[in-house]
């Protein structure tokens, strides 16, 4: 099985031929991205793991029922994220409806949002590790404080999902998606304003 196999091709092999290797490849490609998206959306690692597992079981069930359909512009990842998002909204967000925001646990702060992945080369950038860690922690907390509609847009945007696909996943018009992203980024910028001011000060002084 080549690296070049498309996601849809793998999904169809799994559905049509019950090709286990095709599913394994597909699962390996998307499982971590999906978990990170759900962790940002739900704000809790354990809940995100559960939602992720339920989403993948739904994927398998869809394949068992031969229900995965070929659509001219459909992409597996968009479909997967839609499935996950709808599941998360349906099953978990009701619990938190009263408060609209979910506290970021220490576990997320420590385990998920600080520093580069072990063994993975971090991209070169002007931030040192200490700065990066501090900014990541502040950003994660700020994301959790966003309204759900903005948080899901930001979570998808961080996963490099295009605005048109975000619109498809969330069921919101593309312009609304762009607007939510704009307001969310403004709030994040505001939440990090003290860091920005310090940074400006550093740059002006140097």
């Amino acid at each position: 099985m080549g690296v070049a196999d498309g996601d849809d091709e793998l999904m169809f092999r799994f559905q049509r031929d019950h090709d286990y290797q095709a599913f394994e490849e597909l699962f390996g490609r998307h499982k971590d991205v999906l978990l990170r998206f759900l962790a940002r959306l739900l704000g809790d690692i354990a809940t995100a793991h559960d939602a992720s597992q339920q989403t993948w079981l739904k994927v398998i069930e869809v394949a068992r029922r031969q229900d995965y359909l070929a659509q001219p512009d459909a992409r597996f990842r968009t479909w997967l994220l839609t499935l996950a998002r709808n599941h998360a909204i349906d099953e978990y967000q009701r619990k938190f409806a009263a408060s609209r925001t979910i506290a970021l646990t220490d576990e997320i702060r420590e385990r998920s949002l600080n520093g580069p992945i072990a063994g993975q080369q971090a991209p070169a950038d002007p931030l040192d590790d200490a700065n990066r860690e501090q900014i990541a922690g502040r950003l994660a907390a700020a994301i959790q404080a966003l309204p759900l509609e903005q948080r899901e847009v930001i979570a998808l945007w961080i996963a490099e999902v295009e605005p048109a696909a975000i619109a498809e996943i969330t069921g919101a018009p593309r312009d609304t998606v762009l607007s939510r992203k704009k307001y969310a980024l403004a709030k994040l910028r505001s939440a990090l304003s003290d860091l920005l001011m310090e940074g400006d000060h550093v740059r002006r002084s140097s």
């Binding site: 398998i60 385990r111 998920s112 949002l113 990066r132 900014i135």
Partner: protein, 177 residues
């Protein structure tokens, strides 16, 4: 501590958060992959349950010289195999028909005990491209999606649901000019 946030805020937000270490747990992966394996490899008990009937059927086929082939609905010559067990006159569009335009609806013989039917339309590669909503009568309107397809050859099956019974009619096929 001096903290600097680069001017390209959007880029940096994504850059900082994209490198997070969160990965799925081993138990998560094991549970999902076990379920996938279950679909791909039926349990041993199920295989054994079917072993005797399959062996008998194979013997009968050998004795009578009938070669029965299962599997892909696409024959070696590229045409779609279709069922001959259903009254051909009651199939709309007619099995094997060449049509100028996409059909407006599908029809099939009424099945005893059926409570609902569902049409599954596939392209020539065997890929499902449309499923109808469950219908109680033995006909279903064609979804507009079919009219957008670039494929020329289609086959379709009818899932029959009833009390204690579930079976499938077809596949039947047609092609567009």
């Amino acid at each position: 501590m001096c903290v600097g946030v680069p001017e390209d805020f959007e880029y940096e937000v994504r850059s900082v958060l994209r490198t997070e270490p969160l990965r799925t747990s081993a138990s998560h992966d094991a549970a999902v992959l076990a379920k996938a394996r279950e679909l791909c490899a039926p349990p041993r008990a199920r295989r054994l349950r079917y072993a005797v009937p399959v062996a008998l059927a194979a013997s009968v086929a050998l004795v009578t010289g009938v070669y029965v082939r299962y599997g892909s609905p696409i024959a070696d010559d590229g045409r779609v195999r279709s069922s001959e067990a259903v009254d051909a006159g009651a199939i709309v569009p007619a099995n094997g028909a060449t049509l100028a335009t996409a059909p407006a609806e599908f029809q099939w013989p009424e099945q005893a005990g059926a409570e609902s039917y569902r049409v599954v339309l596939r392209n020539a590669a065997g890929t499902p491209i449309w499923r109808s909503e469950p219908v109680e009568l033995n006909h279903a309107d064609v979804d507009a999606a079919l009219h957008d397809q670039t494929a020329r050859t289609f086959y379709w099956t009818v899932e029959v649901e009833g009390a204690g019974t579930a079976r499938e009619l077809g596949p039947f096929w047609f092609q567009l000019q």
